[in-house]
Amino acid sequence: MSSVESTPATATPAVRKTALNAVHRQMGAKMVDFNGWDMPVEYPASIGCGIINEHMAVRTGVGIFDVSHMGDIRLAGPQALNAVQHISMNDASRLAVGQAQYSALLYPRGTFVDDVIVHRLGEDEYLLVINAGTREKDFNWVRDNTREFDCAVENLSDDFTQIAIQGPRAVDLLQKMTDVDLSTVKFYWVTQGNIVLNNKSMRRYLGNTLIARTGYTAEDGFEIYVPSDEPTSAWVWNRILEVGKEFGVVPCGLGARNTLRLEGKLPLYGHEISDTINVWEAGLDRFCKMEKPEFVGHAALEKARAAGLKRTLVGLEMTERGIARDGYKVLDSTGSEIGYVTSGSPAPFLKKNIALAYVPPEFAAEGTALKIEVRGQSVGAKVVPTPFYKRPKKAA
């Protein structure tokens, strides 16, 4: 038996570690190289984990993720808003202080530098949270493209240990550890508050901790940004697991993070979005505000919209036995190659084999029967509505 990971490893000189690396290893996590980062892919079955259990915990209870490999760029100064407006496709002028939005940084040709979450932290202060694999590229790109604005650009990527607390019980768990009334923090809002870390022997506060109601799991949840020194990081991580016991909290790795985001059709850089895929193809129209007079990529997107789509992102469900994986070919009913799978996996909550794929628009209609080439065999699939999973609406 020889294992072939479906995510190709990228060659990087030195493997980077988050402040929680030793904690993950101590817990027996299976570690992988993810874009040059030594990260947990899943935790052991002996502590109730594994990708499926971790995935289910987030859908039905709560799970936590070390996402410290994500990068953070702060823009602050009198023209910070102008700078953010210039480099991102969503409309940051709509953000109130304490609000966040999904957006993207684009190349002049309308393709993706990266997708980002833009947080407005103050009157003239914004925080962009970016992907791990594109940290340096993003920072350089942001700095180079904001030189004309009166605004400081800082790379804070190494300053934070970022922990995602995700799932319907995430709010109950985190509420036990903070004096912020989390019911006042709506989805895609951010606040600063104290994280209370008291246990029997010690009482500690982490003041002014960034608490954002965001995530990458298609579930309710929070991401907290704590100082990246190892003792503090380990302390917070372990306290969350301790406090969360009553909610059945489990640590989750990148494996579950990927299946969770896939069920929710949340794009992954290098898969659904990249420097060769444009906004319209990726179907991210509603986050791209063409009514803004200008942003990098605007002109190319005008042209692309007029020219029409050559390919579009669709959701697929396997109708025959077989699992579509990243990079597999998509065939039409006659067996001609028409596109490719960007992400494919068993969906642990939906208990179906699902995939996202780029195909020409004429094959995008719901119910269209297609084939996926799975190791030399054609396996049936059909186009289904997305997102595959939508979290149930809460009465509150």
Binding site: V4, E5, K30, G50, I52, G322, R325, P346, R375
Partner: protein, 129 residues
Amino acid sequence: MAYPTDRKYTKQHEWIQSNGSSATVGITDHAQESLGDIVFVELPKVGAELAAGKAFGTVESVKAVSDLYAPASGTVTEVNQNLATSPEAVNKDAHASWMMKITLKNPKELDALLSAADYEKYVAEEGGH
């Protein structure tokens, strides 16, 4: 994990338990642990001819696809149908969840395979991945 001494092992992480001219084949506990949650096992048809060292099927976890390699040459006489509906049985007990039974072409081929102790040593040296 104690590896049963009643069978032989390959460096591709399969086990084979022979009984004269017939044998039973599966994957090791180390293999199931490396793979994680197994969701799909694809096995050959009864009657298929296997060549030692050649791929005979695949096993898929949520995250990865892996080929299965024949520990010995022979003919498939039976496949474990339970694994079509309950592939997770391999995670629960890899050494009991056999995949197929074969008639051995040359039982001597097994002499070249690893003993339980040697396999355990091999896994330890290969490192925790």
